[in-house]
Amino acid sequence: MTSRLILAILLLTWMTRVNMKAEVFPYTYPENVPLAGDFKVWADGQEILVYDTPVGGMASFGSTGNVKVRIRIEYPFKSIDIRPKSLGIEPEIDGQYLSFLMPENQKISVEFDKHIYRPLFVFAENPLSEEQKAAADIIFEAGKKHELGIFNVQSGQTVLVEGGAILAGSFVLQDIHDVSIIGHGILDNRDISRQDGNYALVGINSRRFSINNIHVIGNPRWTTAYFACDDFSINDVRIIGWRPSDDGMDIVGCQDVVIDRSFIRSKDDCIVVKACSVNKYFLENAARKNKEDCIGCRNVRNIKVRGSTLWNAEWGNAFEIGFETRAEEMSDISIEDCDIIHVEGNGGVFSIHNGDRAVVRNIRYKNIRIEDARGYLCHFQILHSHYSKDSERGHCENIRLEQIIVSEGVPLNSIITGFDNEHIYRDVFFKDLIIHGKEIKSAFEANLFSEFADNIRFE
C-alpha cells in the first residue's frame, strides 16, 4: 500500500512537472527577419517564428517543461525523421501537420522525406532566470537589430543577448577574464562576405569565461574559435552554418574546457581541437598585429565535450583533432554522450589528423550514437598535410572508443595510419562498438585498415 502511495505521488509529481509547469515564451524579433515560408510552428498553441536559413528553418522558443509542438509543412511528405533519434520522439501526423511532445531544453532536426537540405530545426530553450538577467552589464535587446562590428568584451562583464535580438559582427574576448555571454539571441553573419568575415565569437589568451545559449548563424569563416584560453565553458550554444570553412568550434591551444549541450550544423568541421596560430585574416581585421602570432601553438589539455548534437555537412569531420598540432602534447580530450545525426561528406565521425609534431594522447570517445554518417567512422592519420608547418611528425597513443553505436545508414569503414615506423598510432582500444546491431570484435569486422599502428584492440 505504501509503495503504491509513493508511486502515485511520484506519478503525480511527474505529471505536474510535465503538464502544469510547461510554459512557452516566444521571442520577439525585429521586422524583416528572414522567414521560412514552408514551415509554420506552434508550441503549446503559441505561434513560433520560423527563422530562415539556406539549410533549413529554425524555430527557437523559451520554454519550461515538455511542450507540445505542432508543425505545418507546405509541401506533401511521406516520411519523417526526428533527430537525434535517441530522444525517442514519435510524431503524430495529420495531413500537412505533425505534432509531438518536445522535451525540455532540447535541440532537434525534423527532416521530411530524407530531404536533409531542408530540415526544420526546433530548439526549446530554458529561459534565463531573473538573477541572470540582472547580472548583465551590457544588453542587446530583443526585437532589435544590432550591428556589433568588432565588439570587445571587457573583464568582469556579463553580456546579455536577449532572445529575439538579431546581431551581426563579432564578439572578441581578448586578454580578459571572468566574462559571461548569455541569452538566446541570434548572431547572424550571413550578409558578411568571406573577405570581410571574421570569427563570430573569438577568445584569445583569456580565462574563466562562459558562452551560453546564443545562436550563431551563417558565419563566413570559423564560426567560434578560442586560442590559448583556459578554464572556460560553452553551454547550450546553437550553430547553423553552410559556408566554406565555417568550423563550429575551434579549440586551439586551450586547457580546461567544457562544451556542453550544444548543437552544431556546419559545412566544415563541427568541433575541432588544434594547436596553431590565430588566422591571418583575424590579425588583419582586428589590428592584432603587435601580438605574438602563434599564440595558439600551445599544449592542449583537458577538453570535455558532452551532451551535444552534431551535423557535419559537406566538408570536414564531426569531431576533429588536427590537422594543426603544433605543440608538444595534446592530451586528455573526451567526447561523451553525443549524437551525430549526419556526416554528409567524406569525413570522419571521429578524426585525428596529426599533421605536426604533437604527441596526441589520452583521447576518449564514449557513448556516442551515430545515425547517418557516410564517410568514415574513424579517420586517424599521422601525415604531412598541406597545413603542416613542423618539420617533424608526432605520434598518437591511448585512444579509447567505448559504447559507439552506429544505428543506421551506409556501412562505415575506418582508417588508422601512422606516418612511418617511428611515428605511429599506439594503443587504440575499441569497446562495445556496435554497427547496425552487430557487436564488432576485430579490425576485420570493423573494416578497419591500419598501417604504422601498434596494438589496436577490440574488447
Binding site: L383, H384, G409, I415
Partner: protein
C-alpha cells in the same frame, strides 16, 4: 616478336597447366616492390603476389582458358561483391575465402564485407600480341619479372615504351612536342618516390597521335595520366590507382586543352577526380571531341568522378561523350559541371550505372556570369544502390544553364521525372526530365 614467343613459352612453363590447356603467367615476388598482406590470393593454386597501393591491393596476371582465384581474408566472409556486377563473374564464399572463376580477361573490384577502404583489384589479362620488337632502337623495352629504377622516361617522336606484364618500373613518363608515340604493356609504373604533387605518372604535353594501351599506374606523386594540349590520343585499358595522402591530387586522367581523345576500358581508383577536363592558366584551345567509354571508376574522398570544374577558367569544352560507365563507389560526387568562366556544351552521358555514391550525384553550377553549361544530356543513368544523395543545378544568369535533359534517369527501379524526386537541393536552369 622474339620476345613475345619467349614470353609465351615461359607462360606455358611457369603456369599451372590444367587439363583444358589453360595456362597463366604469374610473377614471383621481387625485391624492391611493396606487397600487401591484407588478403592472401592464390591463382589456380599458386600464391599470387599481392601488390600494395594506398587505396587497395591488387593482383595482376596473364592467362588463357579458365582460372580460379582464391581470396583469403582474416575473418569470415559474409558478403562479397565482384564489381561491376554486370560482369556476372562466378563466385562462392567458403568461410574466410572467396573463390572467383574467370573464363575471360577481366578487370574487377572485389569488395568483401562492405570494405570500401581497402578493396581487392583483380587484373586478369588475356594474351596480347603487342607487336613490339625489343631490338628496335625506337622501343624502350622493360621486360617481365624485374624491377627497374627508371626515373624519368622521356619519349621522343616515333618511340614506343613497352612495360611487360610482370615488369615493375619505378619512375614516370614524359613527352613534349612528340608525335606518333606509343605506351603499352600490362606492367606496372610506380611513382611514389617523387615528392608530392610533383610528377604525374605519364605527362604528355603538345603531343600528337598517341596510343596508350594497358599499363597499371600506381601511387603517382601527382596525377596518373595527363594529356596537356594533345591531339588524337587513344587510351585503351589504362589503369590508374591513386593514393590516400591528403596533399595528393591523384586524378585518373586529366584532359587539358586536348582534342580527339578516345578513352576506352579505363579502370580508375582515385581519391580525387577520375576524369577531369581542364585548362592551363592561360587557356589557348578548347577541349573537344572526347569519348570515354566502357570504363570503370571508383573514387575516394575528393572531386568528382567525371569532372568539368576545377581549373576550367575560360575553357571551352564541347562534344564530350561518356558512355557505358560503371561508377562503383564515391565518397563525394559523380557528375561535375561547375565553373566560374568555363563553357561546357554538347555533353552526353549515356548508359551510366552508379553504385554506393555517398554524397552528391549531379553538380551543375554556373559560378560566374561568363560560365555556361549548354546542351548537356543524361541518358539512361541508373543509381543502383547507396544512400540518397543530393544534386544541384544552379544558374545565375537566364541563359547560363540551358538544354539540360534527363532521359530515363532511375533511382533503383523508380524513374525520376521531377527535381524533388531527384533530391535536387538547388534547381535553377532550363532542365527537362523525360
Amino acid at each position: 616478336m622474339k620476345h613475345i614467343l619467349y614470353t609465351l613459352i615461359m607462360l606455358s612453363l611457369l603456369g599451372n597447366c590444367k587439363p583444358d590447356s589453360s595456362w597463366l603467367h604469374l610473377s614471383g615476388e621481387m625485391e624492391g616492390v611493396t606487397y600487401s598482406d591484407f588478403y592472401q590470393v592464390r591463382v589456380n593454386g599458386h600464391a599470387a603476389p599481392l601488390y600494395y597501393s594506398q587505396v587497395g591491393a591488387f593482383v595482376s596476371f596473364t592467362f588463357s582458358g579458365n582460372v580460379e582465384i582464391e581470396i583469403e581474408c582474416e575473418g569470415a566472409v559474409h558478403k562479397a561483391e565482384v564489381l561491376p556486377g554486370h560482369l556476372d563473374i562466378g563466385k562462392k564464399i567458403e568461410g574466410k575465402k572467396v573463390v572467383l572463376s574467370l573464363d575471360r580477361a577481366t578487370d574487377c573490384f572485389v569488395k568483401i564485407n562492405d570494405n570500401y577502404v581497402y578493396p581487392l583489384m583483380v587484373f586478369a589479362h588475356g594474351v596480347s600480341d603487342w607487336m613490339v620488337d625489343s631490338l628496335d632502337e625506337k622501343v624502350r623495352y622493360f621486360a617481365a619479372d624485374r624491377v627497374y629504377e627508371a626515373g624519368e622516361i622521356h619519349l621522343n617522336s616515333g618511340e614506343t615504351l613497352f612495360i611487360e606484364e610482370g615488369a615493375y618500373v619505378k619512375g614516370c613518363v614524359v613527352a613534349e612536342g612528340a608525335s606518333d608515340i606509343r605506351i603499352c604493356g600490362n606492367g606496372i609504373l610506380e611513382g611514389s618516390m617523387y615528392p608530392q604533387m610533383e610528377k604525374p605518372a605519364i605527362n604528355l604535353k603538345d603531343c600528337r597521335n598517341v596510343r596508350i594501351e594497358g599499363l597499371i599506374s600506381v601511387d603517382p606523386s601527382f596525377r596518373n595520366l595527363v594529356l596537356n594540349r594533345c591531339t588524337n590520343v587513344e587510351v585503351k585499358d589504362f589503369t590508374g590507382i591513386g593514393t590516400r595522402e591528403r596533399r595528393m591530387s591523384d586524378d585518373g586522367i586529366n584532359i587539358i586543352e586536348s582534342c580527339d581523345v578516345i578513352i576506352e576500358g579505363a579502370f580508375i581508383n582515385a581519391r580525387n577526380n577520375c576524369i577531369a577536363l581542364q585548362s592551363n592558366p592561360n587557356v589557348t584551345r578548347p577541349v573537344e571531341r572526347i569519348r570515354v567509354r566502357n570504363s570503370v571508376f571508383w573514387k575516394g574522398d575528393f572531386g568528382m568522378v567525371m569532372e568539368f570544374g576545377y581549373k576550367t577558367d575560360d575553357l571551352i569544352a564541347r562534344d564530350v561523350e561518356y558512355s557505358n560507365i560503371d561508377v562503383l563507389h564515391s565518397l563525394s560526387g559523380v557528375f561535375g559541371l561547375s565553373s566560374k568562366s568555363g563553357k561546357a556544351s554538347n555533353f552526353r552521358f549515356s548508359n551510366i550505372r552508379v553504385s554506393d555514391v555517398r554524397h552528391m550525384l549531379f553538380a551543375i553550377n554556373q559560378l560566374g556570369e561568363n560560365a555556361s553549361m549548354v546542351n548537356i544530356r543524361f541518358e539512361d543513368v541508373t543509381v543502383l544502390d547507396g544512400p540518397i544523395c543530393f544534386s544541384d543545378i544552379h544558374a545565375i544568369t537566364e541563359d547560363g544553364i540551358r538544354g539540360i535533359s534527363f532521359e530515363n534517369l532511375k533511382y533503383g527501379e523508380k524513374k525520376i521525372l521531377n527535381p524533388l524526386d531527384a533530391h535536387f537541393r538547388k534547381f535553377k536552369g532550363d532542365v527537362i526530365f523525360k
